[in-house]
């Protein structure tokens, strides 16, 4: 069985307000999946649930075949093993950085895992180079720009070498160049065999970020779960789920195709 993440009929509500309704979703090892949907459709809640921050009101969640429950997560050893296997990059990078400098931020995970200082240093240097942030090594995280903070946050999670990487709106607030860099970075991670789960509103880049797309609708259920390219072509469905308006289209026949909106 290759199922990494398995949600069966999962529902969750915030003090009576539903956030997820009857979600059934399977993600296999090595897959890259994009979560799409309008604001408030439940994407971030689902990511928190998958990361063991929240727990379903009903239904079951299995990670690598193991059922994840509140009770099980109370066991510190189980919880730590689980959190090492799944890394979560938060929507707001500010909230993820709490160490004195970038080096310590990235070294936090490996040091926790008990790796010796040589191995920790190697991991930190590799992560710095992979994310092209070598120059930030001794900078304080809160003095960095938005894009730099995002890269440090990714590096701090990557140094744990998790099997699954979860990104909540990773392109939000990034300039176009950094967005493009991020997409190619995701492709590298995918090629390295990592399982990727990305929530995004950026339809232009979904197809490049993920091979499969899951679309949420206003009623907090899954409206579609298809290959990303196929789902993006279903404009009627995207309009029905309030993700785009009627001006959203693409030009068939062009060498490189993507969906966009012309200025009025």
């Amino acid at each position: 069985m290759n199922n990494m993440i398995e949600l069966s009929d999962v529902s969750y509500s915030y003090e009576g307000t539903p956030a997820l309704k009857n979600i059934t979703l399977r993600i296999e090892k090595g897959e890259s999946v994009a979560l799409m949907g309008m604001n408030g459709s439940g994407k971030s809640t689902l990511l928190k649930l998958i990361n063991g921050i929240l727990f379903p009101d009903s239904g079951t969640y299995r990670f690598a075949g193991e059922k994840i429950t509140h009770k099980k997560m109370q066991d510190p050893l189980f919880s730590k093993r689980f959190h090492q296997k799944i890394g979560f990059v938060f929507q707001n990078a500010d909230t993820q950085l709490f160490c004195a400098d970038v080096y310590d931020e990235i070294a936090f995970g490996p040091r926790q895992m008990g790796l010796d200082e040589d191995e920790t240093e190697k991991r930190v240097e590799d992560c710095l180079s992979l994310l092209s942030i070598e120059a930030l090594r001794h900078r304080q995280p809160y003095h960095l720009s938005g894009g730099e903070k995002r890269k440090v946050a990714i590096a701090s999670v990557l140094s744990l070498n998790p099997e699954v990487l979860v990104f909540d709106e990773p392109l939000l607030g990034l300039d176009p160049r950094t967005q493009r860099w991020f997409v190619s970075f995701l492709m590298k991670l995918h090629e390295a065999g990592k399982t990727l789960l990305v929530s995004t509103h950026n339809l232009e880049m979904v197809q490049e970020m993920a091979e499969r797309a899951v679309l949420f609708d206003e009623s907090h259920t899954i409206a579609a779960d298809r290959p990303a390219g196929e789902l993006l072509k279903d404009v009627d469905l995207l309009i029905r789920t309030n993700l785009v308006d009627e001006y959203y289209h693409h030009h068939p026949g062009a060498g490189h195709q993507h969906f966009h909106i012309h200025p009025f």
């Binding site: 730590k80 938060f90 500010d94 709490f98 160490c99 008990g114 744990l160």
Partner: protein
């Protein structure tokens, strides 16, 4: 891609005492949900207006402090318990818990004086404390905080003072909302043994200070852009309704009992 990233991590965590993260998350969640629940408290033209509630609660606390009559204090206690019983179960629990805790604490503090023959104080003071804490808690649990701060306008408090109170409550909530994901992030990345636990927590606190400073500066700039010159005007006009009249009547009755019994 570095070699270690291509391999599956064979990692077995070692035990560590780090339940403080979970406890911090739970206590923060409790505060945030309390503030969030505040905005759900019903209010409107058919409910007692906040200025009356604030004034009457203040009056009640003064009367309780001044009274020497056990009958008066018992009457107020019974009336407050009756009022509490009309509220939802969770509110009853929290109001009574705070009242009993404060009364018990007073009782313990007064025990030595009881051994010296002061029987009056050991009965009266815990009852007074219970009634006063319950009255204030009923006010707090049945009135939105923004209405309470707004009600201060009726008592001729400067608008800028009310504004600072409003902003303080808002900031407690916003910074709480900001610090929650930080604690989650710390928990998610705490996958082993952390020998510098308090350094991580102080890192979170430091980031919070910086964030609150940045937010304050941005807000200051935004307010200046909107023409703020240091004056903040809040409307204090209210139209009395039947609920207000009934509420005032009960408190006038309490005042009369106090004047009669002392």
């Amino acid at each position: 891609m570095p070699e270690w990233l291509l391999k599956e991590e064979q990692y077995e965590p070692i035990p560590d005492r780090d339940s403080f993260i979970d406890k911090s998350i739970l206590s923060l969640l409790g505060i945030l949900s309390r503030i969030r629940a505040q905005s759900g408290i019903p209010s409107g033209k058919h409910f007692v207006h906040a200025p009356f509630k604030v004034a009457c609660t203040f009056l009640l606390v003064i009367l309780l402090s001044l009274s020497k009559s056990l009958f008066f204090i018992l009457t107020i206690n019974v009336a407050l318990l009756a009022a509490t019983s009309l509220l939802p179960a969770d509110k009853i629990f929290h109001i009574l818990k705070a009242g009993f805790a404060a009364a018990l604490f007073t009782l313990v503090i007064l025990l030595p004086s009881a051994f010296w023959g002061n029987r009056y104080g050991i009965v009266m003071l815990p009852l007074k404390v219970f009634a006063a804490v319950t009255a204030v808690n009923i006010l707090s649990r049945t009135t939105q905080w923004r209405h309470i701060t707004g009600a201060l306008k009726t008592f001729f408090l400067p608008d800028i003072f009310i504004f600072v109170l409003d902003i303080t409550i808002r900031y407690i909530f916003m910074l709480g909302e900001f610090s929650l994901p930080m604690l989650y992030a710390l928990k998610l990345r705490s996958v082993g043994k952390n020998n510098r636990k308090y350094a991580s927590l102080s890192g979170i606190t430091g980031t919070m200070f910086i964030k609150s400073k940045e937010m304050a500066e941005e807000m200051n700039a935004a307010m200046e852009c909107r023409g703020f010159t240091g004056e903040y005007r809040k409307s204090g006009r209210i139209r009395m309704n039947w609920a207000d009249a009934g509420y005032l009547l009960v408190h006038i009755l309490a005042l009369l009992i106090f004047l009669y019994l002392g």
